[in-house]
């Protein structure tokens, strides 16, 4: 009989793939929990994604062009980092600038929403034959805790739908609604008495079956059942009402603020990745009006989150990513809107693994092109993975095709890393 260890080695030797197929398989399924845990960094950083759905304008947030014909209506303000200025709509973030690394030289390759949302969640462009996983699933896989009562990949009001892709159901996101509602079937539909009777009976069946049937599939099935039960015990973490009164000032009284507080609570409970999303930045008309309405509550919550994480000593171990799927055009169109633009735009990183208080890269005087240090989507994700202690060159398999976490040829932006 092949023992456990040599079977793994054997599988690695034969391409380390499970079944391939036109239907995609489950990544390196046989690199079971044990080996993944051993490969993961001992620090196990976590990540919060603040997602600006529709694509926030760099000109009205992090990369102002005062005086240029492309500049728009808002003025720049100083921040707590000498020489770094951002939009006047963001006074609270301006006071947290020492924690931020702003990237003003994003150059990405999908200019429309579905493609952009896919790209900026997976690092890859959509293709017909490979289902790439979102980076939340990757972080759940490499930095997630094995024995946990909460799922490792949680999304609040997310518009992305790539999910776990070829990494398989174990890393599927747990999706929370815009107002904090849990996904379908999360709430127990049985009285505690019935639930406990069923649990006893089912556990008995699993145990007797497991005694003679040793295939690990039934073990996985059993463990997932246990996890679904444990979730019932920790559901109160999703109910932020009790804590909200204390924090509404810090986060600002907005739904996005509430979502950010929920993210902090989940991270505090050990969840490895939480996405919170705000819509709707797709300002093809009245760009300034939309940003004036959307940015202040968003930046209030963002700043509040950074302060809260910092005060709790969690910021060093929590990476906070701020981005949308695209940037917006330098030109203001005849409806006072800005359209989609990916040749030059901005994102920001803060916290775990990131050297704050800096602006990386630069766009030219009108924001039409990147002036220096362009950062592609691949570079961006390679940097995120590195900051989290995950090797971006690590490979998973879709069928027989090895897929590195960040696309082949991506560069880690070392200047962004630190602390």
């Amino acid at each position: 009989m092949i023992d456990h260890l040599s079977r793994r080695t054997l599988l690695k030797g034969t391409l380390a793939t499970s079944a391939g197929g036109v239907v995609m398989n489950w990544g390196d399924l046989f690199h079971g929990p044990a080996s993944v845990a051993a490969e993961a960094s001992p620090t196990k950083k976590r990540c919060i994604l603040l997602w600006m759905n529709g694509g926030a304008s760099q000109f009205e947030t992090l990369d102002l062009k005062p005086g240029a014909r492309t500049g728009g209506t808002f003025r720049p303000i100083s921040t707590n980092v000498a020489g770094a200025q951002i939009c006047e709509l963001m006074p609270k973030i301006a006071q947290q600038m020492d924690k931020l690394a702003v990237i003003r030289s994003m150059r990405t390759s999908e200019v429309d929403h579905p493609g952009g949302i896919y790209l900026m969640h997976t690092g890859y462009r959509p293709t017909a034959n490979v289902r790439f996983p979102e980076f939340g699933a990757i972080i759940a896989k490499y930095n997630g805790r094995e024995a946990t009562d909460l799922p490792n990949f949680i999304k609040v009001f997310s518009q992305a739908d790539a999910g776990a892709g070829f990494l398989g159901p174990k890393y599927q996101p747990f999706g929370i609604g815009p107002e904090g509602s849990l996904p379908p079937f999360s709430a127990s539909s049985q009285s505690p008495e019935v639930e406990s009777r069923r649990y006893q009976l089912r556990s008995f069946l699993e145990e007797t079956y497991g005694k003679v049937h040793r295939a690990e599939t039934s073990k996985m099935h059993r463990e997932a059942y246990e996890a679904s039960r444990r979730l019932q015990g920790v559901r109160k973490v999703f109910d932020i009402d009790t804590e909200w009164a204390k924090h509404s000032e810090l986060y600002g009284d907005s739904v996005f603020g509430r979502r950010c507080l929920l993210a902090r609570r989940l991270i505090e409970e050990g969840v490895s990745f939480v996405e919170v999303s705000q819509s709707s930045y797709d300002s093809h008309a009245d760009n300034a009006v939309w940003h004036k309405a959307l940015v202040p509550p968003m930046e209030h919550a963002w700043a509040g989150l950074l302060v809260d994480l910092h005060q709790r000593g969690m910021l060093d171990s929590t990476l906070v990513v701020w981005m949308g799927e695209i940037g917006r055009t330098p030109n203001i169109n005849n409806r006072a809107g800005r359209d989609h633009y990916v040749r030059s735009w901005s994102t920001a990183l803060a916290g775990g693994g990131i050297k704050g208080g800096q602006v990386y890269g630069e766009s030219d005087a009108t924001g039409v092109d990147v002036k220096d240090n362009p950062v592609t989507e691949g570079d961006f994700f390679a940097t995120i993975y590195s900051a989290l202690g995950i090797d971006p060159k690590k490979e998973n398999f879709a069928g027989v095709r090895p897929i590195p976490l960040a696309p082949f040829g991506s560069k880690v932006v070392a200047e962004l890393l630190g602390s």
Binding site: T17, S18, A128, K170, T208, H221, Y225, G399
Partner: protein, 548 residues
Amino acid sequence: MTHRSDDRRLTRWPFAALVVLSFAQSAWAAPPLQDVIDNEVHAAWQREKITPSAPSSDAEFLRRVSLDIVGVIPNYDETVAFLADPSPDKRRQLIDRLLDDPRYAKHMAELWDVLLFTRNPPGSEADKREGLQNWLRQRFAENTPYDKLVRELLKAEGNSIEQGPPLYFVQYRQRPEDMTEAVTQTFLGVQLQCARCHNHPFEPWTQQDFYGMAAFLARLQIVSAGKAENQNKLMVAEKSTGDILFTGSVKDDKPGKKGDPVAPKFLIGDPLVEPPLPEGFKEVAKFEENKPPQPPVFSRKDQLAEWITRADNPYFARATANRLWAQFLGRGLAHPVDNLSDANKPSHPELLATLARELVEHQFDLKWFIRELCNSQTYQLSSAGPESDPLPRWFQQARVRPLSAEELIDSWQVATGFESSLKPDAKKKDGRFSPIDGGYMIRFFGQPNTGTGDFQGGLHEHLFLSNGPVSQLIVSSPGSLFDSILKSTAPWNERLERLFVSLLSRAPTDEERQKFSEFFSADEKMNPDRLRDAIWALMTCSEFRFNH
């Protein structure tokens, strides 16, 4: 019940060494292929010093082979009858019966439908596929030789609704590169996708090979043939001119670079010899809608369909034999099943060669092949045993695979008697997964579904099982499992047997009898809530969730 002793065999694997002897002395008058299978697999055990598990019990075999051939567990009566049947070749008879059952064609069609289209086809035109599904079902019902089936699919004649086959290409929306990747992987077990963007890193395939194959499909056009039942009828037309352009390696790609035309060339072999176009030939500017498209002067697509399915194509028969083997034995001899490259050596090379040769000699007769597989002693081993790999590499223990979404709903319906409570047209009205929403079934159980053993635990599946609509299947109508047990005045033992045989296709063990008697006897009368609990537990436990 007479089969109690039978189930005790489940726990007998430590004595499996004896089986090796009995294999050698087997006096079965068996057709050659199934003997070849057992001999080759046995030889590998000896070489690898592996002890196989015991032969499966009748109950274990019945459930497994029913799920594998007709996609659903046996019902109570079928199970009782099979277990009580004293005839020595009842397993062989069962296999024959199942292969003749109309549910065989339905099951095969559903497997191939997912294989050809995945759960999320690249083009939304293929979201509804009734025409193609009917076509597949009919082909499997008639036991159309597999090479003929593939040829018809790839020639794509007719339209996507009345005939079906065109839908396969339609899903790729005139992207010959995507079609090429899919066709070579699915039917030849050759994975060219790396060579699409750069020469393959560890296989002989170059980008020229990839585009040489894509050239066969570069002239295809999707043409509308009107509407039927609110769906577009689509046809695959082919032009007589036009080439695929190859721009070189993606990393050297520059915007505006046009690329050079690549001539069609079979993957291993010669360039296609094409007759010259007649003098003064004028290409169709645009195919007319609602009319059978004018055929090309010379069809590259048909040439590809013929070449792929030729008996002497070194990949086709091997890929087919390997895929069918994996469907029933869990993992391919070369695994993953759709990768027959040199870097992915088969575990039993001689056996794979024989299977492929025999498949050609039997004109790609699928039922014959499946019959040989299922009658082998290898297939009929027990899944009880010490091996933790659900797909043991040496086939020393039966594989364990999850039920597909379709198998799961059908088996639940049979087990609970939901099916018999349905009005005849209810399924058509309420959808394939009635009474459960099909979207949920696909979302929670639809993947993985490669027809093999891939499985991962998932939290969502259990939230659904515990809190979702599964309990709607536990109906109380007359004749249902719930009703017959609740109303029964038979002794506990008999009622428990009914419960276990209906759900798990086996009698309860002594331990289970005791546990369940205690569970029910907590109340004086049979408590309907507790009966529901018990049915639910048996519907959702691992023993039900997997084919083992």
